[in-house]
Symmetry: C2
Subunit: 334 residues, 2 copies
Amino acid sequence: MGEFELIERFFKRPARRAALGIGDDCALLQPAPGMQLAVSSDMLVEGRHFFPAVDAARLGHKALAVNLSDLAAMGAKPLAFTLALALPRAEAVWLEGFSRGLLALADAFDCELIGGDTTQGPLNICITILGEVPAGAALLRSGARAGDDIYVSGAVVNGACEMLGQARMALEVARGTLALDAAAGTQARARLETPTPRVALGLALRGIAHSAIDVSDGLLGDLGHILCASGCGATLQADLIATNLIAACADNTLAKGLFDLNFARKMTLAGGDDYELVFTAPPSARAAVAQAAAATQATATRIGQVDAEQGVRLLDAQGQPITQRYDSFDHFKV
Amino acid sequence: MGEFELIERFFKRPARRAALGIGDDCALLQPAPGMQLAVSSDMLVEGRHFFPAVDAARLGHKALAVNLSDLAAMGAKPLAFTLALALPRAEAVWLEGFSRGLLALADAFDCELIGGDTTQGPLNICITILGEVPAGAALLRSGARAGDDIYVSGAVVNGACEMLGQARMALEVARGTLALDAAAGTQARARLETPTPRVALGLALRGIAHSAIDVSDGLLGDLGHILCASGCGATLQADLIATNLIAACADNTLAKGLFDLNFARKMTLAGGDDYELVFTAPPSARAAVAQAAAATQATATRIGQVDAEQGVRLLDAQGQPITQRYDSFDHFKV
């Protein structure tokens, strides 16, 4: 199978929103008047962002999901994306699965594949996503103000809670440092491999939230970006989310695990790959935040507040400071 | 050096055109009214698109140049780009060179780095470029009509000709199948490693050319995309460009080379990585094409015409058919 047959067979579909889709030197998009274009790129590398053995359809889903999550964190509506794909070999079975997972999520979010590149090389997936947001309405990292509440998103899907920390739990299971019952293990793995980007919540938070980011490297690191960009600090009810995670896993953790409070803090404060939104909003907007979450089948848990004082203060369930450090993921340091 | 220090130190600069540049979940661009957005992604893989030992600054130049060339082939004006970079290690010396070469070309074409991604992994460079073109004015692959002249671009820079085939010659030198004198070798290598995207020519051809593409995989393959999209065929004066190349190399080819007519045909018809424009225009536009080329310090050599009959007919200098086949580059077939 050659390069052009590969594109034709697995990725090319008629252009819908695009003025010109796959098949020329560039794609053409007609931006809507008054809208700003939100642009983000994410690259996924085998062995770094996913296991070599991961299911191709799930990988296709995740590659787009992490990009949709960047739009969600800006309050931007998905429009289109390009896919650059380096593959060791052009394998039809893998490509069928990958494109199916990718395009199913694209359809679910009405986000069109408009172009890209395919080449031979170590497996590498690079997606650049384009969204739109009314000028001035984007949720920036720099908008947090002292006194803002800090929230983290989640969801309840078919009676099961989606919350911060589960993706990292799946990673620990894969590493053999944690064991989970079948149901909890499956759910955690789904959170790691097929995260749900909170696009609808991000859109609903326009005009309500002062700042937002998505959790890819870990809560503390990603919230840190908001605080740094906004020139603020924060106090977090750290054990609120840790004990939530423990409660959700109470019946499910097998003996092999080390699921104590410290472990739960590590999962929730420093675990990455969750793609939940962390955002801040003034206390006067509490009802509006609850309404935005409810309207979009999401939850928004208030986990702390923004302080004028720099630095992050972690409090335990008794309101006492936690002195242990929890570091987020850094691609060149871990 | 961590991920964020790397970005801060080598790639982050104040936003100019962008409403929001590097440092949030997405960059924000304000499209101009009436303009369409041209979008293209190109991925460069070590060992496939460049030699592991290539100079970092030249690699930075080339990574952006191949993307600018896609805008040139659409007649689109460069606006901005994202850079996704997988690196085995964060090496300051390499990053300094790479970012210098990349950003120098970006400045030369007023094209702003607005975001991207950095990660640890096998060296892989993925750039997505954004340009603008008035609605309806883009140079498409599908616009060629029977009777159109076919042109290939080039330039004369400091008395030296830039023409189709030189990039492939540099590849042959690197492979040890061709030897060139120092001056010719240096020029050929510059054509391979630091190609000049014909952006100004592409803009000048708006309203004149019927169709355009840039030569990345080889003239026959890339022209083939125009013919396929336009439902036409072509007759090419194949030896016109081959003998031009031979003439340019007449004094320069060392004994080790096999620089006969067949070799020159291979370089010009099937050699890739030239990033010249191939375009078609009606015979009535010959003066306008010459004027567009002259105004942009480029050359436009007429090398054949578009036929209603499918297929490509190659003619030698005597007007006789050439029966030998010359194949373009395919990433999954070569």
